[in-house]
Symmetry: C2
Subunit: 354 residues, 2 copies
DNA sequence: TTGAAAGCGCTACCAC
DNA sequence: GTGGTAGCGCTTTCAA
């Protein structure tokens, strides 16, 4: 019932606890025969070192914390996959916390993590987050933090992001080139720098094409609110002149599809839609969705790698370690140019499997 | 830089370490004024108890481990959400491990967890798992384990599953009622009881409808192998008489769609498809996919609840604690009966947004 | 090459 | 009510 510990091993082997410990840690000052004997017994008794004891002693937990707004979202689950991958390679464990887009929760979690429970933290901030005192708290304790995707713009800390400005620009440009002139932009929390950058790209593209910026066309989802699902529908009803939608997050692209269905608007003929998304099924939608796809898995891996540089070297890293990865524009039928309508029936038939 | 500890607080307050500890733990034998003084300073200095020290001392880690085959899958990410929810309510932390469908990894993780690092474990087994010695290991250590979704059939331990037999039956029945007579069943690892039960439901429904069971129509995906994506296509090519597909996992339903597109087969006219899936976009696919949807979030919550019963009461639980939740059959266009073809153009136009 | 012993930060037992 | 102290299991000086 009670797990075997060093004492038990030492007794059985007539060795001291210290020797057993060193043998198991493969220290150079222990003879090979002793090492072998110790290892053999440890294996036989299924010895596993007590993690809390060694963490306490070494002041290293071999654990990182990951704090994300939500997990039922392809972007974050892929990022976790990448993070777990790197952590495992470094023999690290991964604690997961969901902020549910709630700054209070994020704060509470970060406070907990400040107590030496983890050697480092990966954070993608909640959309409500405005204050970042909690980051300083970890910094004071010497616990490195790397932000990914949803980051605080100003802070001097390493961030792993994507080219959100360029992506916003390209998405909007793509719609404009496809003939759209009244382009709605659906986004989340203005406070997020990620949203701001996508939006700036949107504005820049409009300007480039000499399309006036219309504030009414930019709608921001209140974080985690249920009404957000109906947001596109409300907008499309109020502004029937909209002929393009640029959704800054996957969920808004999906509710735009639903809104079009409900309102009898044809995609892409009446409204063209492009959205940030990591949906594997984007190409199987009706019609297939044109996406800006972030390299979510790579972001996770990259963020974890940057963190481990800090963790291993045991020092705080700065904004200088930041990385920016490129998102990919994947053109599909939802933004097919109306001038290509002669080809449309074929494409549609294919999409339908007809 | 160094985190504040009890010693520091005790010094500043001219109290003993013991008193400070008890004050912070709100013990009855400490006077209110003292508690207030201690709390005030602790707050001011951002004191957070050292988790490893108290875990070591109390022999309680306030942490559970979650071991799943993969995370980039709606079922598991929703389950995690449910688990995290319950854990948080119990003031517990959640460690995440991905087995990547690899038994060796699963084993290695379970060994690690046997060392008192966690107070309990939630496990959804890798498809390759055949041996379960690692479960006994945790049992010996008194660490409760609850299996969810992908479970070991025989073991006397609590399991949280869905009505897989009934779901398999209903899915197949649904296809049969829609007119299918040559129904392929795409599944994963035969060794999983979950697969076996779905398959038994499939067989039972066939028998009920006096449709002979054809072994060739049952194809099993080799876990995590890249060829699995092309599996439906190979099958549909070899057996052009197939008029229905029952996919036991989401990914196989998706590759069936792709296969149909590639082969020019019309869904649902030529082939009807039903699949287990937690895809939020099922209704937006071309055509909308009929699904068996498992209550993933609830499974996570339920599994965690069962685990916490054991963790709190500090005893192992048995199979008697098992729960079975119901999956839901959501009928959509991918299995629309061919006799309804008069309505089809409308449905399709809607699906297309035309 | 091995052993003895201190101590990581905390809790719990026993005094007073 | 409060303080002293032992000890959770481990690592790591320092001695031998």
């Amino acid at each position: 019932m009670k797990p075997v510990n060093l004492k038990k091993l030492a007794q059985e082997l007539n060795l001291s606890i210290a020797t057993v410990s060193r043998a198991l840690n493969d220290r150079y000052d222990i003879s090979q025969p002793t090492k072998d004997r110790v290892r053999a017994l440890a294996n036989k008794l299924n010895y596993e070192p007590n993690h809390h004891a060694s963490s306490l002693r070494r002041n290293k937990s071999k654990t990182i914390g990951v704090v994300i707004p939500e997990v039922d979202n392809h972007f974050f689950s892929l990022a976790i996959k990448g993070i777990e991958e790197v952590a495992r390679r470094n023999n690290y464990h991964v604690l997961i916390y969901l902020s549910h887009e709630d700054y209070q929760r994020e704060l509470a979690v970060m406070r907990l993590l400040a107590s030496g429970r983890v050697d480092g933290v990966l954070l993608s901030v909640a959309s409500e987050s405005q204050d970042f005192a909690h980051l300083d708290l970890l910094r004071e304790r010497g616990i490195p933090v790397v932000l990914f995707d949803r980051v605080y713009a100003g802070k001097d800390m390493p961030k792993v992001t994507t080219d959100d400005y360029e992506s916003g620009y390209r998405a909007t440009q793509h719609l404009l080139e496809a003939g759209c002139r009244v382009i709605a932009h659906l986004t989340i929390a203005h406070t997020l720098s990620i949203s701001q950058r996508r939006m700036q790209g949107y504005q820049a593209a409009l300007q480039q094409f000499r399309v006036p910026y219309d504030e009414e066309l930019v709608v921001c989802e209140a974080a985690g609110k249920p009404q957000s699902a109906s947001l596109p529908q409300t907008l499309l009803t109020q502004r029937p002149d909209i002929d393009g939608i640029f959704a800054a997050v996957e969920s808004l692209a999906m509710s735009s599809y639903e809104a079009c269905h409900n309102l009898g608007l044809r995609i892409p003929k009446d409204v063209k839609i492009i959205g940030f998304s990591n949906l594997k099924t984007a190409s199987l939608l009706a019609p297939p969705l044109t996406t800006i796809t972030q390299p979510a898995y790579e972001i996770g891996k990259e963020a974890a790698s940057v963190l481990f540089q800090a963790v291993v070297k045991n020092r705080l890293v700065s904004a200088a370690q930041s990385k920016e990865l490129k998102s990919e524009l994947i053109v599909r039928a939802s933004t097919a140019s109306t001038t290509l309508s002669s080809k449309e029936p074929v494409a549609l038939a294919l999409a339908l499997g007809r």
